[in-house]
């Protein structure tokens, strides 16, 4: 049995939004109930369009922010209950993150070597020489050359910058790495290199990844488990194969049908979603997806669906529960 690294139960994160001096503050439900487990050496992909709470989830997992409610355990330690600084520090070292934009995530005024060793300076008592050594080893591991140590971020291409960001995330030897759209800012040819690097590192170091993305073809390639989110809520989660080969939630089906494929012969029905993503301040009643769902009926506006197991995946949809949905052709 692999070690459980992250256990999240019903995570919520609300932000207070002030609309005016006289009006009461409204709450923006950025994340409204996410539950999942992450095991050593596994990859959980979190998928969804902009504003669905993917990045909020990343901020909770990296402990930059605290959940409004729900339980989060990292490495079997409950985050909310830990007040001791040393344990928090240890947890922080357990979870590290790679950001989406490699142009914004590296301090333009710091040399690469200093960027990578900053976590060591803050969290460890290594001497300058030991740090230097570790940084060089890490740079080699991610495919950077020694002479890059003294250079500045702007002298690197996007792919190399992302390697630097990965090196920085790995220098503290974390067990979990949150990858917040790590390749979406890169050219497609570079994307493959970075993805392969990530897969190699995972095998070598036994890392667990939370891979946040909207690019389903990448997700299909790298993930073990997939969680599809809509407006702060997971709508479908399950093993890679189950979600991709047998998408059940209408939203998942729509997402998959929108993924470009190099298959000329295969006829696919393209599900077009109409309408805009509703505001997370004032989500639709019942199922949040109902205004855009082709299967929605009155029930969907009245009742909120709950996550239930259908086949291999857990789906939150009334239409699925009532078997009103035709299956999307497995592509």
């Amino acid at each position: 049995m692999k070690q459980q690294l992250i256990k999240a139960r019903n995570l919520h994160k609300y932000y207070a939004v002030k609309s005016g001096y006289l009006q009461p503050a409204q709450s923006l439900k950025a994340l409204a109930g996410a539950s999942f487990d992450l095991y050593e050496g596994k990859t959980l992909a979190v998928v969804g369009e902009s504003g669905c709470g993917k990045s909020t989830l990343a901020r909770l997992l990296t402990m930059i922010e605290e959940p409004t409610s729900g339980q989060l355990s990292i490495d079997n330690i409950d985050v909310a209950e830990t007040t001791e600084k040393s344990i928090k520090k240890q947890l922080r070292q357990t979870v590290q993150m790679v950001f989406q934009d490699p142009f914004g995530s590296l301090n333009p005024r710091q040399k690469i070597g200093n960027i990578i060793q900053e976590p060591l300076i803050i969290n460890t008592n290594f001497s300058a020489n030991e740090r230097h050594q570790q940084v060089l080893e890490m740079m080699e591991l991610v495919g950077l050359r020694n002479e890059h140590f003294q250079r500045y971020p702007h002298m690197f291409s996007g792919g190399q910058r992302q390697r630097i960001a990965i090196a920085r995330a790995l220098i503290l030897k974390p067990k979990v790495v949150i990858l917040d759209e790590p390749v979406s800012a890169l050219d497609v040819s570079i994307q493959a290199q970075v993805i392969n690097l990530l897969i190699e590192l995972q095998q070598e170091l036994g890392l667990a990844y939370v891979f946040i993305s909207h690019d389903l073809s990448v997700v299909r390639h790298i993930s073990d488990q997939v969680m599809v989110m809509y407006l702060g809520k997971p709508v479908e989660q399950g093993p890679n194969k189950a979600v991709f080969n047998n998408p059940q939630h209408p939203y998942t089906q729509a997402l998959l049908s929108a993924t470009p494929q190099a298959d000329v012969e295969g006829k696919r029905q393209r599900i077009k979603l109409t309408g805009e993503l509703p505001s997370p301040i004032d989500p639709p009643s019942g199922c949040a997806f109902n205004p855009r769902c082709q299967y929605a009926d009155k029930n969907c506006q009245l009742h909120e669906p709950v996550m239930e197991l259908y086949g291999d995946s857990r789906v939150s949809c009334l239409a699925v529960a009532q078997q009103r949905i035709g299956q999307l052709k497995a592509s």
């Binding site: 930059i64 950001f99 995530s105 301090n107 333009p108 969290n123 003294q150 500045y152 960001a165």
Partner: protein, 298 residues
């Protein structure tokens, strides 16, 4: 800001090269820099260059016109004042005081302003409101008037004048730094540092501050010239450097009764102020163009 010239090349030499490339695009900025270097040189070697002691009174040569005018003498090239002191020597020595005043005012207001701005931008909340409202209050009063009031409280003198002027300049640095801090604060590299457990001090001074400096440096250069101007103004009003000190503003003040019958005694210090301020402004504009990534052509 992250692609600005200073952040650019790996070694300091290359950084300078690129900076110089952009700076030298503007010929006027280079001209200003040349003149500024000349002024600094003159100020440093004032004792060697000036033909006379600045306070030496040649009573028999009082109110002598400049050398090229009728009755002028070569040994008093720019003429003498009412007490027979050599104007050229006094202006040369005055450059020391003006540059000193400029530097001290800029150093004081810049360091205090940057610190307050950084704290205001980073901490936010009531502290930010407090700092920013105090700064707004300072800005609401005309600078020279406020400096006059402060000097009146502190007592006249060059040092007090510099402190007073520094206080009136601080808000500009605070606002500038706060604005840059706010825009840098939400960048991913700050979040990344925060995530690894960096302390607030480290975030402020190691992560954010170096990325806020370009506009502050430009503002510093421009303040340098206005500081010289304001010190001269305070000196002219009798609130800055006191009488025998050869400060440019004081020079004009002590000779202003002679403006009709010995105009050179006020003209040349005035020209000195004009040229120094002009040169520094030109350099400041050149700096702004060189450091502003939006004006980059490559």
């Amino acid at each position: 800001m992250n692609h600005s010239a200073v952040s650019s090349k790996s070694t300091l030499g290359q950084q300078w090269q690129e900076f110089w490339f952009y700076f030298s695009v503007s010929k006027t900025a280079v001209a200003g820099l040349v003149f500024l270097v000349l002024v600094v040189f003159v100020a440093l070697f004032a004792d060697v260059i000036s033909p006379h002691e600045p306070a030496e009174q040649y009573r028999q040569f009082a109110k002598l016109p400049p050398a090229w005018k009728e009755g002028g003498q070569m040994q008093f090239f720019l003429g003498t004042d009412y007490a027979g002191r050599d104007m050229l020597s006094r202006i040369i020595h005055g450059s020391r005081l003006s540059l000193l005043a400029g530097s001290i005012v800029v150093i004081l207001s810049l360091s205090i302003g940057v610190l307050l701005g950084l704290i205001a931008g980073y901490r936010g909340g009531w502290l930010e409101i407090l700092i920013m409202r105090v700064m707004d209050t300072i800005m609401a009063v005309p600078g020279l008037l406020l400096a006059l009031v402060l000097v009146a409280i502190l007592g006249p003198g060059l040092l007090n004048a510099m402190v007073a002027i520094a206080i009136t300049y601080t808000p500009y640095f605070v606002r500038l730094t706060r604005a840059s801090t706010l825009s840098e604060l939400n960048r991913d590299y700050v979040t990344a540092s925060k995530m690894t457990g960096a302390s607030s001090t480290r975030l402020m001074f190691v992560s954010i501050l170096p990325n806020c400096m370009a506009p502050v440096i430009v503002q510093g250069t421009l303040s340098f010239s206005t500081a010289i101007l304001d010190t001269a103004a305070l000196g002219f009003l009798g609130m800055g450097a006191q009488a025998p000190t050869p400060e440019w503003g004081t020079l004009i003040a002590e000779n202003r009764d002679l403006i009709l019958n010995a105009p050179w005694t006020v003209t040349f210090p005035g020209i000195a102020i004009l040229l120094a301020v002009l040169a520094i402004n030109l350099v400041g504009d050149g700096l702004r163009d060189a450091l502003d990534p939006k004006l980059k052509r490559s």
